[in-house]
Symmetry: C2
């Protein structure tokens, strides 16, 4: 992603010196018109803007503060740092603190700018960037951010770390929905359904999600390609659950997701494509989703069984919407902006787009009650129990719905399950009611 | 178990006719002095007492009501039926209803009498029996129950089905603790600890449970013997979660247990010993707990790592105590009697014996707060995350503790986590406070 991003800057006539731990990438970059240097220390000499496009917060700390080779030793006065890692929300404030206190470099400006979009959009200058920081830092970084992101730049209010918080909340949904695609398709296969048909029908239903639509095709063809390795989402979800611990906020579905992903890593699938997670659900017949994908266009499907799949997906996506949006409110994010960003990104789902606005407005127009969702999900769970098919996420969502019902919310619209995440102070969201 | 039970009755000079679907068992029974018959219909002819010692409620329905061979066709007037299956709480009331309404046999007495204890105690007449029913039925059954159970007979108030409810609540704990033994020992092995030493030290700690002490030795020796097959506890936990659904009561840890057990069955371990569940946690190195069991008596142990194990076990057993006792209160059982029965049975744990009395009395003397437990469990969870070791139960318990803290209970004694299971009407237990 760094190569594409830097090459795009060069194409837009900016003068760029690059550094990478993998030398052939630098050779390619020089061929594209960039310069290169052997360490971060030498790379940043004379640069007004420094973009750190690395995977983790630890890599930023190393590139910036290494005693021998760190950029800190040569940063020009008033330099602007654009930090593009996905890390825990506290990592950019920590960088600020180190600059101020350990290195006495209050002059250096810092922007928190986690990105997503992959290598192609990096090269196109259309990365999604969630930028946050002090106003002067954002103003200084803006010309570079605009070239990197175009119209996909979001300025997140809330100061340094707010962009990373938005990314974290987004990853709650992306992680849960990724696993849910496997839980659902494995169940469809175990039920004996034509998985290709199920994919087409669920896509058109209330059970769909961006992740379901993006990942399921990889389960339906015999494809060894790694679109996104399991270890990547494992790293992202670990940031989410660590964020839940720092915020002292319960994240039931994200935690369940983390444990099942860890089972996948334990089983040796860490370097495989994350759509292969379905093997965790079908250990004795890991290719069942593939072998049950019929090519017959006219195949009939058992409507009652399909309903079991759609119901469990919409129920889990209902609860994941509430869990994620409540976390966003808890960490102080603007809920409306959070909704707008997520609803067009990889964390979205049919239920998210329908129920999150109800949650935010307080105008709960959903026709389904909590008890209705419980009744539907009961059917799916009982069918899975007969097959001894594990429903990790659906089982967790079911218990949360039952807890909501126990707390007297059973007859309220299903959005009321969000009240589980309210503290003694009450409502996390504004209400028009 | 039926053979031992029936032979014991014969030894106590009772006249017994036996039936079993497996003919060699009947041959053995006749050699011990009993009689046999070819169907339930012929077996019960002239009998005042009929004991159904079968595995499931469905088997009782078949033995009793089969159109051709069922006992119903020859039951003498005022016969007493002693139903010893483990089934859902509503199954004995359903038998009553069928007798009354379909067969017009209001004269027949029914006792709900689930048993536990295994074949040896069945033969010794020392089975644990949880008997419930109308007073006249209990009085009629008493002489037989006494011979079967001796001093291990408990009369459960609450009418037909109450005994089965007690067994269900007991199985909540037994099932969770069984899985927890695997989760903890697998983690100990993944941490590189001497698992034999861990077993000895945890046994002497607040982290211990009856199930841990009973099952762990089977993980520490290379032993192919099946003490209790995984499929048995799978059946029992399915009754528990179905009971939670009927009672509209959330059972987070029991549900997590059910999903992980289903994963074990999916992986093909259903007929193996249930202590082999640890393989689900260590798929790439399923014998790690065994290979890390040192025979060196003098081996040292890393105290900080041992603490991670003890902390997670005591935290899960804290939450399981609250989940199970709350279910008991919800289904209308006498909490004090429930405590007395479980505290000497396979569902007990160090934490259960210490914290359940605090819960019942309302005298919360525990020195640990909810937030203390969260802080401890955080250490265990973060260590497991580094190893990508899945903590299914500990992760679920952690989220419940965080939810309790969010609801304002963080500074209260850890027993306060029980408030999660309170409905709008408030406290489920009597309070001395």
């Amino acid at each position: 992603m760094g190569f594409g991003m830097a090459t795009n800057l060069v194409k837009r006539s900016l003068v760029v010196t690059g550094f990478d731990v993998y030398p052939p990438t630098l050779t390619r970059f020089v061929a594209e018109g960039g310069s290169s240097a052997p360490t971060p220390r030498e790379t940043v000499q004379g640069a007004k803007h420094v973009v750190f496009m690395v995977a983790t917060a630890a890599q930023i700390l190393s590139a910036l503060f290494d005693e021998e080779t760190g950029a800190i030793h040569t940063l020009v006065p008033d330099a602007t740092l654009i930090l593009c890692s996905t890390g825990p929300p506290e990592y950019t404030p920590n960088v600020r603190k180190l600059l101020d206190e350990k290195y006495a470099r209050k002059d250096v400006k810092v922007v928190d700018a986690p990105v997503s979009g992959g290598t192609i959009r990096a090269a196109d200058g259309t990365l999604t960037i969630l930028a946050s920081g002090p106003e002067d830092a954002l103003a200084a970084a803006r010309p570079i951010l605009d070239v990197m992101a175009g119209s996909n730049l979001y300025i997140i209010p809330g100061g340094l770390g707010a962009g990373t918080k938005v990314k974290m909340v987004h990853q709650v949904l992306a992680g849960i929905h990724l696993l849910m695609a496997s839980e659902a398709m494995g169940f469809a296969a175990a039920l004996g359904l034509d998985t290709k048909k199920v994919f087409e029908l669920v896509k058109a239903s209330e059970g769909t999600s961006w992740m379901f639509e993006n990942r399921t095709p990889h389960m339906l063809v015999d494809d060894k390609r790694i679109y996104s390795a399991l270890n990547i989402i494992v790293k992202d979800i670990a940031i989410v659950t660590a964020g839940g611990r720092s915020a002292e906020f319960p994240l039931f579905l994200a935690s369940t997701t983390e444990q099942v992903l860890a089972s996948g890593v334990s089983a040796g699938y860490g370097l495989e494509d994350d759509a292969k997670l379905v093997k965790v659900y079908l250990p004795q017949n890991p290719s069942l989703v593939l072998t049950q994908a019929s090519s017959a266009a006219s195949s009939e499907i058992d409507a009652a069984k399909l309903k079991l799949i759609v119901q469990m997906m919409s129920a889990v996506h209902l609860v994941s919407t509430m869990e994620a949006m409540s976390l966003g409110a808890k960490v102080g994010l603007d809920a409306q902006q959070l909704f707008e960003i997520i609803s067009t990104a990889a964390g979205t789902s049919w239920m998210f787009k329908d129920r999150a606005p109800q949650l935010l407005s307080g105008n709960w127009t959903s026709k389904k009650t909590v008890d209705d969702v419980i009744a539907e999900l009961t059917e799916s769970i009982e069918a899975a129990n007969l097959l001894k098919y594990p429903l990790h996420l659906s089982g967790t969502a079911f218990q949360l719905l039952q807890l909501a019902s126990l707390k007297g919310l059973g007859k309220q619209p299903d959005v009321a399950v969000s009240k589980l995440w309210e503290g003694p102070e009450g409502r996390l969201f504004r209400s028009k009611a």
